[in-house]
């Protein structure tokens, strides 16, 4: 009997199916990327000419139909900064506790469930919670503080989950080796675990920034203003914000030049992309510096 290397009908059919599946999957993937590409191209074409230095550094003029977006840009930076000041210490501390101290019992399982659910709460619900808790109950009024704390609570799960994953990526063997040297849990965390998790934690924080910068609902009732002719002087003042400003000039104010909203949208997306690029940069840096 001679060995035949000719493909049977079945072989050919399987190969045809495999090729069709491959093309189908590829088309689906391209379809997925298409909207993103269209958004980016459209925004760049129409928005880029708007983004001049003057646009970034001037106050809005003539009922927001001219001038720039300076107070909104600055306001978004304030909101994000104060939100980070609140959520990073809280989130990192909670993650360290959950990852390094808490045992596997009903309480920690409950806490984990709560964190996952917190991530799933719609942002408008966070907004109303923020009004009730920070604006009214704590008496902060509609202010940067109230808006930032609302944003902080909304983004806490991001920080906690990212930090916990970064901590758990540090091998248990390192901890055991350190414990066997007579180190306490905290010494082990400080000397071995945290230094090796810090880049992962930073990545999580950056992702949080990009999420915080774009949110509208949580801030529109708690501290972001329609229009302000001056900059906030303290965290108890209201502020303008990019995301709300985009909403306002797109839908609420007549006579805004057609390209203005595209410019603001492009700026918001650029901020988010910049943050994501930073976080990718950190990951690459982390991989290059990985010590084990």
């Amino acid at each position: 009997m001679t060995a035949t290397f000719a493909a049977s009908d079945l072989n050919l059919r399987n190969r045809r199916i495999q090729q069709r599946v491959r093309i189908l999957l590829m088309v689906m993937t391209v379809l997925l990327v298409l909207p993103v590409a269209i958004i980016l191209i459209l925004l760049t074409v129409r928005g880029a000419p708007v983004l001049t230095w003057e646009f970034l550094t001037e106050f809005p003029k003539q009922g927001m139909t001219a001038g720039g977006i300076y107070p909104a840009l600055l306001g978004t930076i304030f909101l994000v900064a104060v939100a980070l000041l609140a959520s990073v210490p809280l989130g990192v501390a909670a993650a360290i506790y959950l990852s390094e101290y808490a045992g596997d019992n009903w309480l920690t399982r409950g806490i984990n469930l709560a964190i996952i659910n917190l991530a799933g709460v719609p942002s408008i619900v966070h907004a109303l919670f923020g009004v009730g808790a920070f604006v009214i109950f704590f008496g902060f009024g509609t202010s940067i503080l109230a808006a930032s704390l609302t944003l902080a609570i909304m983004t806490l799960p991001v920080v906690i989950v990212a930090t916990r994953e970064a901590l758990q990526a540090v091998p248990l063997a390192f901890r055991e080796a350190c414990w066997s040297l007579g180190a306490t849990r905290w010494q082990t965390i400080r000397k071995i675990v945290l230094p090796n998790a810090v880049t992962g934690i930073l990545t999580g924080i950056i992702l949080e920034v990009s999420r915080t910068a774009g949110e509208t609902a949580p801030i529109m009732f708690t501290g972001a203003a329609f229009f302000l002719p001056f900059l906030p002087e303290s965290v108890f003042d209201q502020t303008m914000a990019l995301s709300l400003h985009l909403f306002v000039i797109s839908t609420q104010v007549p006579g805004v030049p057609e390209n203005f909203p595209y410019g603001v949208a492009l700026l918001l997306i650029l901020i988010v992309l910049l943050m994501n690029a930073l976080s990718i940069g950190f990951r690459v840096y982390l991989r290059g510096r990985k010590k084990w």
């Binding site: 901890r175 414990w179 066997s180 007579g182 180190a183």
Partner: protein, 263 residues
Amino acid sequence: MVDVSSVTGVKREELVLDVENLSVRYGSKRALNSVTLQVKPHEIFGIIGPANGGKTTFLKTINRMDEFNSSMHVDGTVRFLGKDTRAWRNTYALRKRVGVVFPLPVGLPLSIYDNVALAPRLSGVRDKAELDLIVERCLRRAALWDEVKDRLNSLGSLLSGGQQQRLTIARALSQDPHLLMLDEFSIAVDPVTTMRIEDVLKELRSTVTIIMVTNLVQQARRLADRSAFFLNGDCIEIGDTEALFEGGAKDTRTTDYIEGRFG
């Protein structure tokens, strides 16, 4: 209470380790059943036996690593240097007197120098000259100094497996332990390095007591003064290593294991 002086030839209060009826379970899974054994000063005590025998678990109970594992439950008494390890209020101080070397070398992601200086630093040594002394002494005792003395600041985790394992020995020695516990130290190390480490252990015997878990029976024969045979969580037999290997084992399972009929 059983008189153990006749077994070990050492007075009870001089024993390094005096373990009585030690049982361990993880959740409901039993890992160690009522183990009783004694370790004398300056001996190399071998623990042999097939996998899942409770050998590693035994080591973990000595330096109270159960504190870090909530599912691990320990019963019975372990006396270290005459004192019940449950009675050491400061378990960190206990752990400092027990050096551990793990099966897979764990070079911490620190420089070679910092790896060895970690334990002294944790206990408060800040003086650079003193740290230098400790680091050099420990690396010399672990027979690693000549290979790394010119690159103490490079990463410990980038050394070869055999070098890392000697680094972990140096690190374990940096706390001046009374007892050094090695858990299958040669599992990830080539034969030549294994022989080097074995020579190191023979040297160390004059200053520290050593417990050595190994799944290489010939290694136990080469090094251990006395050996215990662990099987499925039971300590089947303890005896002088030579006697065990020369057919003096009382339990046929010990003989079968030593002669390679199972395990």
